[in-house]
Amino acid sequence: MTALLEIRNLTVQYGRINALTDVDIDVSEGEIVSIIGPNGAGKTSLLSTIAGVVPAAGGTITFRGEDILRLPLEESVRKGIALVPEGRHVLPGLTVLENLRLGATIRSDTPEVRRDIERFLDAFPILRERRNEPAGRLSGGEQQMLVIARALMSRPRLLMLDEPSLGLGPQIVDKVYDMISDTRDQGVTILVVEQNARRALAVADRTHVLNGGIIRLSGTAETLSGDPDFEAAYFGLRSVADG
């Protein structure tokens, strides 16, 4: 397998506080990799740094063999990285259709864009029904579908999702995770960050446990759930990071 995304010794600081310390992660083409950890573990910082929202203090990030560490954030999507940030972030005053169209900002193949939009509207009839309504009026679950679809409109190589299950009911979460699996089946590599460890373990080929800005443990669902250190890594050991 070739590494699509390669992160080495990544350190991110807010003032003097380390949000991430020496993080190494590889994501190979076609994989689903998940990062789990409690609130404040550094998960959002990780995705934000990859996307270029937050600058790194040290380390390297390579995507398809190219250094992307200092890329301005509007360029990362042009390289093939799409981020669905935490809290969904639909553009609330724009219509559903406009949100989808905006997802294709970097594309110029208008007829293909139209076809893609149709495909998503077919897949989610509720979005078709409300396509001319402001996206802010959709329910939380509908907004989550919309932002994932919107991210996919850029036809990314790598889709990054930040807490896609946050604040959603269990049935909706099922749908969201179905959508994630389907997306992988279409050849998109996925990096998903979750507090909801069970979901993230189940969907992923490999999982890293992040706590206090440090990767504590890595493995597959089977190896991790059998690991005696798993709970300690997930819930505790904050003192190590603070030191």
Binding site: A51, V53, P72, L73, E74, S76, V77, R78, A82, L83, P85, H89, L91, P92, G93, L94, E98, R101, L102, G103, T105, I106, P134, G136, R150, S154
Partner: protein, 295 residues
Amino acid sequence: MGSAFIPIMIDAFSVGGLYALTALGIGLIFSVMRLANFAHAEFVTVPAYALFVLSDHPVVVSISAAVLVAVVLALVTERAAFRPLRGIDPATMLIASFAVSMFIQRLLVFAFDSRIKPVNPLAVLDGSVALFGAQVNLLKLTTVITCLVLLIALTVFLKYTRFGLEMRAAAEDFTMSRLLGVRANRVIATAFVLSALLAAVVAVLFSAQTGFVHPRFGLQIVIIAFVATVIGGLGNLLGAAVGGFLVGVVSTLLQALLPPDLRPFREAFVFLLVILVLLFRPQGLFPARGLKERI
């Protein structure tokens, strides 16, 4: 009644239309970068001076030059002064734009002195026409029509073009839009260019109405347009346009209806209105959706 009513309304809307265009110019930039741009005054003043300098040339030449000058000025100030400050707190940006405004204003005084200069860019529109049985000033009628046409054009641009979509997205959530690939520099530059185009049109129409320019030419109209954007809701373009019309109409009607003793104070009432709006409806009469920081 009817013959007095129509000219008063045309009057009110020609004033309101200029305020609306100015408020939109301010609102466009505010909505994408949270900059309350004081220097918009000079985006109006400088093209008016271009009209003065080129007053011996054909109207087409002088007006085109005015538009060009406004666009160049807007792009230069964006690049030199506002881009380095992007992301800084809005209060500092406001002071910075105040400084930019004063700098350009003083350059104008330096280059042209501070006395008023005669301009008459639209001499062809002197005179009046009959409209529904009333004599209406042709220039004022043109002003109203131009404002309406520009409002419609801007709406179409924002609603139906790709640039417009990107600008509206940036106005709602700048970071998210950039994540989707919207280029910050391009959106902001577009906002400045549009703002400058509107300012140039205001410069032409307003200088045609007043007949002269001076270094504070744009300031008087921009200060009132600021009020309009606040009343309409900072960051909301529809609100800015409506606010502009509202302020213009109210101020014209106050002029017509207030007892003569109080007329000179009419603008004081308008500014009082702003303070009241800020206090009781800090998001304006038409709150902007997705406006991040509260004022």
